[in-house]
Structure formats: structure tokens, C-alpha cells
Symmetry: C2
Subunit: 387 residues, 2 copies
């Protein structure tokens, strides 16, 4: 297949590009390198020593017959370049990672709020518009987030995108059953942009019969994949700063330096997780199982387990002996929440999840301890406030 990967230089985009290239697909990466530019803006660097996109691709192409190509396009701003690239490459599938993806960054300042909305909405809408204009039969696979659901309804299981509801029909004195898009309840500007994406996907699937899969992904952990391990120059990025670092990465870096693990509030927030190699497998499965033309978007929950933040801290503390420190939560959220999520869709397609419990220590040894000289401990705290 010909696969166009938007945002193919990023944390998920890069290993996905290598994985799909390795599986024999023809891969074209489009990226505007905004993630690297935001590193410059924030004055942080990836813990792992990532190479420039040009070097990464050269190394890959030197060792593989199946070459990856790269074009620098800002898809939110350069519509005609995007359309030309689609028309020339004629992709069978497009994987869309090209959005600003950090909730804390999206809450930092009026400027970052506005950038996140402007960039993410125009990126997605330009893409939808260009697919229609190209008249090609393309399967669009979008990386969404579990965060569009909010924190679920009173202990009930979160389904995969759509919810069965009963509505009282007062005129006819009966209950009507129908299926709706799960009522969204985003917790940050970033998550809100993914809620807006969903509405655009529903519209374009209905009006233009675009084939769309939306993957509601949990927090991705792990750094390396089979392909990024092949050469240190192919290494994937690892973010631990207060904006882009996930809670788990923050803990890993703190434990490497034997600094206390900072838990926000009581640590009672439950989050969904998935290992990066499982995320790669899910994307391959999603590509192989597209919706039919005219069908509403397929939504799959791309996560394999849920944990409370304090359980994660305890897990790492138990394995490494690092202490735990409770600090104030900057987010506007309940101190405690439960999260029950269906991930039947990928399990039925054959996914065999890798669990945090068994594989976490590898991350401590192979990443955070190995590169501990590159850690700037001042970059860890989250400075964005929700209120």
C-alpha cells in the first residue's frame, strides 16, 4: 500500500513510519517539524538524542530497500502543497498525527490555546477537504484521544465511540432506541480540538462518503520499537518536560535521578495506557480494516489497560526505591475518577497487549538511566494552570 503519514517526525509518527515501511508499504512523511520548534520555544530537548529528520531518513534508506520520502509542509497553512502531494503520491491510506498533542501546552497561554485550535482544526479540515478534492479513494486514519470521552458516566463502561441511548417520545408515549456519538466532555483545549475533529469526521463521512477511522488513544508509554532499535540514529523521542512529558515519563526520569515522584493531588486520576509497539500494531490493524464508503466513521479505543496515577507511582517506587511526593493538581478535574473502557475492537482483531507491570523496568534501564546526563530536572514540573 501507499501510505502518507502526516506528522511522521513525531513521537508516534516516526516509529509508525518505520514500522509500515518495514512491513513493505511505500511511505511518504509530511511534517512541518513543529514539534521540534516547540522544543526550541520551551527550551527543552528530548531525553533521547534524536537525529534530524533528514539524517533519520538517510540512515533508514541506506539500510533498507524500501525508501521513505519526506516533504516539509504545514498542512494547516499550505493547502495547495498538501493537495499536490496527495495527487502526486496517490495514497491508499493517510495516517493523521499532525496536531499539537499536549494538553498542558494547550493551556499555557492565550497564544498556545489559539495556536492549538487554529492548527489542529485547520490541519484536519484541510486534509478532509483535500481528500474530497483529490477524488481518490483514501482511507483516513486519525489519531484521536480517550480524552474526548471525559471521565465516563457513573462507573459505566465507555464504549468505542458510539453510545446506545433510549429517548422518551412524549407524543407517542414510547421509548425510542438510537445510537449516538458518545457525548463529549473534553478536559483541555487540546482534547477539545479532538472533540471538534470527531464532528468533522462524521460530517464528511455522511456528506462525501469519506472512509474514516478515528483511534481514541490512551497515554502511550515506551520509547523504542523493533525498527527504532536498529540503529541509535533511528531512536525515538522521549519527552519528560512539564508540557509534553506524560505522567509516566516524568516518573521514569525522576526515578533515574532518585528524585521523589511528583503525584498531582491524591493521584486518584485513572488514565488509559498503551505501549508504543501495541499502538503500532493497532494502526496496522486499523489500516487493514477500513470502513465501507458511506459508513459512519469507525471509532476504536486504542488502549490496553487503565491505572490510577498513584498506583503507577507505587509500581515504580516499589521497583526502584524512589520516594513519592504529593503536589497540587494544576488541572480542573475531580480528585478521584474511575475509568472502565471497552477495547474489544482491537482485541477481536488479534491484539495481544504488552503490560506496564512487566515492561516498565526496561524503560528505566534502557532510557532514563542510560541518558540521565541529558536530564534537566527543572523542566519536569507542569507550569500550565487550568483555572
Amino acid at each position: 500500500m501507499k501510505i502518507l503519514i502526516l506528522g511522521g517526525d513525531g513521537f508516534c509518527g516516526w516509529p509508525t513510519s518505520l514500522n509500515l515501511s518495514n512491513s513493505g508499504h511505500e511511505v511518504l512523511i509530511i511534517d512541518n517539524l513543529s514539534r521540534r520548534n516547540i522544543d526550541n520555544e520551551l527550551g527543552v530537548i528530548s531525553l533521547t538524542p534524536i537525529q534530524s529528520i533528514q539524517t533519520r531518513i538517510n540512515i533508514w534508506n541506506k539500510n533498507k530497500n524500501n525508501h521513505i520520502d519526506f516533504i516539509n509542509i504545514d498542512i494547516a497553512q499550505q493547502y495547495s502543497s498538501l493537495l499536490n502531494a496527495i495527487n502526486e503520491f496517490q495514497p491508499d491510506a493517510i495516517i493523521h498525527f499532525a496536531e499539537q498533542r499536549a494538553a498542558p501546552y494547550s493551556m499555557k497561554t492565550p497564544q498556545t490555546k489559539r495556536y492549538t485550535v487554529d492548527n489542529n482544526i485547520n490541519a484536519t479540515h484541510n486534509l478532509l477537504c483535500a481528500i474530497v478534492e483529490s477524488k481518490l479513494d483514501i482511507h483516513l486514519v486519525h489519531l484521536g484521544t480517550m480524552g474526548v470521552y471525559g471521565y465516563g458516566t457513573a462507573g459505566m463502561k465507555i464504549p468505542e465511540g458510539y453510545l446506545d441511548v433510549h429517548i422518551k417520545d412524549d407524543e407517542n408515549q414510547k421509548m425510542v432506541e438510537t445510537q449516538i456519538l458518545y457525548p463529549t466532555n473534553p478536559g483541555s483545549i487540546y482534547h477539545m480540538t479532538k472533540s471538534l475533529d470527531q464532528i468533522m469526521f462524521g460530517y464528511y463521512a455522511k456528506n462525501n462518503h469519506l472512509k474514516i477511522t478515528d483511534l481514541h488513544q490512551g497515554i502511550v508509554w515506551g520509547t523504542q520499537t523493533t525498527e527504532t532499535r536498529l540503529d541509535e540514529n533511528l531512536i525515538n523521542r522521549f519527552d519528560y518536560d512539564g508540557d509534553y512529558g506524560t505522567v509516566l515519563n516524568r516518573f521514569l526520569v525522576q526515578s533515574a535521578l532518585n528524585f521523589p515522584l511528583t503525584v498531582h493531588g491524591t493521584g486518584g486520576q485513572t488514565r488509559a495506557f498503551i505501549h508504543i509497539e501495541d499502538s503500532m500494531k493497532c494502526i496496522e490493524l486499523a489500516i487493514s480494516n477500513p470502513p465501507k464508503k458511506g459508513q459512519k466513521p469507525i471509532i476504536r479505543n486504542q488502549m490496553t489497560e487503565t491505572h490510577k496515577v498513584r498506583e503507577l507511582a507505587k509500581l515504580i517506587s516499589d521497583k526502584t526505591g524512589t520516594k513519592i511526593d504529593n503536589v497540587e493538581n494544576p488541572r480542573n478535574e475531580d480528585a478521584e475518577n474511575e475509568l472502565f473502557v471497552s477495547n474489544k475492537s482491537f482485541i477481536d482483531l488479534g491484539l495481544k497487549p504488552k503490560t506496564l507491570d512487566n515492561s516498565l523496568l526496561e524503560e528505566v534501564e534502557m532510557i532514563s538511566k542510560k541518558y540521565q546526563d541529558r536530564i534537566d530536572i527543572n523542566m519536569i514540573p507542569c507550569k500550565s494552570l487550568w483555572k
Copy 2:
């Protein structure tokens, strides 16, 4: 009250500005004159001879002690100008009309689709962001559309924004009752942008406790109001072109020239309507009845009656003797639909609706016949295709 009116030069914005000024409020208009520029782009003019914004305001200010001010700002592009204007004027309420509002225009070309999304989403989001940054206690009143609902569920009444649903809780073997935002089903890119607006309103009301009223307006008919009638130089715009003209305006112009009334398909589409003077009253009622801080947005259906398009054609045909012509429907929609809508919210606040049946002939005589020399009949057909 100090009231900032965004889009105050437009079809609804202008009479609203005059009406609120006349009621004793201090009015500031912000507009980038995009509606006039789109007239230039499409090569059309308002049937009524509207004056420039400067002339209109000069005439008003010459005759009234309560002066209206105007600043030309593109709120989707010029965030700091918008923020400065809010900080200086310190409005108690902001009425937000500043969006591209024609469904056919939004479906015309990839460029107009992209403009509509980029303009409408950034306009609304910049405004929300600026209200938060100003730290002022402002009530935001937004002009939305009945079109966010789609065409309702199987004969059931469309509520005002929120729907009571029952969800089956399989784990606990019971039904859970909850209230959700009505599941949106927009019929065009334009309507889709209003669906996106709703999600942003919900988020900012929840996270930042903004006070927001969203008015889901039907098709506005009528041209003149008490204030715009005071001087011909204050006259309101009347659009009849295939992009911005409503079905009713198209019929009025066709009947003035004794051309057949063009009905799309069977004319079985049911639409919601409201007279422009009732729309003004609704906006005043909405301003006087804001939500509390921390409350979710108040959604009110701003419409007073529903009609099938073929019934409207028959109404005008019966009164004027004009023939009816059925042409192909450019929209991607069912040939026939019913529409039952609750408008209890405004009726309870005292709205006494003006009906189409009684007041339509005034429009034929006072507008379409009076200015028939300005009609370009070639501009009437809708050239935008949905498919």
C-alpha cells in the same frame, strides 16, 4: 448596558445594533465588512440600497443622542485588537454574529469551505479566549442555527439544546437517566461550524465559568425594523442571490418580476422561520436573562413557526398569482422531512410572534416590488452542489 456587537454591519447585526441603541444601551460595533466583500466577490448587491457602515452610523448618530461606535477588526485574525477593544469598552454583553453564515457559500468550492471553517472557528475561539483574558464578567450571546439539530428524530419534538436520554448500565442492570447536548447532525459546512461552536461553548462554560447563551435561530424573514424604517439610509440588506438569499427572499423576488417560484425537489423540506423583529426581541430577552456563572450554556430555539417549502411557495403564489416551478435540489438531504420544535423558552419570556401568513405581502410590496429595478434575475439560482 454596554453591548459589543460583533458582525454589527450584517443582516441581523445592523438592526440589532439600532434596536439596542434605541433601547438605551451603549453600542459598539466591530465588523470586518466581510459580508460586503463577499458581495463583491460574487458580483451581487443587496436588493435594498444599503449605505456604507460609516454613512449608516453617521445618519443614526445625527438623529439620536445615544451614539453608536464602530471599529473595523477581523476578529478571526486580529486577536490583540479584539482583546484591546474589549478591555477598553468593558462590555456587559457581547452579541456574536461574526461568522460566515450561508450554507450554499460554504459548499461552493474548497476555498469557501476552508474559509468558513477557518473564519468561524477562529472567530468564536478568539472571542472565548479574549473574554477569559479580559477577566471581565461578560455575557456572551451567540447566534447559532436550528441546523445543528439536523432534521430531528422520527417525529419527536426537538428540545432547546439538551436532550434527556436513558442509558443502559449493563454492569448494574439498570437504566441511568442523564441530559446531553442534542446529538448534532449538520447539513453543510456552515452548519458544521455552528456544531463545533457548541462544543467550545460547553468547554469554556465548564472550565472558565463563562456565561454563554447560544440562540439556535431559524430562517429569518422580513427586512425592515422600527429603527431601519426611520430613514432610507438606515435600510437593512436584502439578499436574494443563490448563496445568501433564503428560500423566501428568492420567492419574493421571483414573484415581484412574475417569474416562476423555483422549488427545490418536491419542496417537502420543512424549515423553521422567525421574523426579523421577533429575532430582535429574542436577543433583548436573551440579554436580560443570562445564565449564572458555572452554569452550562443556555440554549434557546429562536424560531416561531415551521413551514414546508412548497407551502411557502403556495402561500406566495396564492397571494400574487405567480406560478411554481420544481427544479432539482442541490442539497444532500431527504426529499421530505417533518420538524417539530420547542420554542417554549422565548414564549415563556413573553415573545408574541409575528406570523408569515399575515405579514408576507408587506415584504412583496415594500421591498421586492419597490426595488425591482435592482434585481438581476441571473443571480437567483443556487450553484453550489452538496454532492
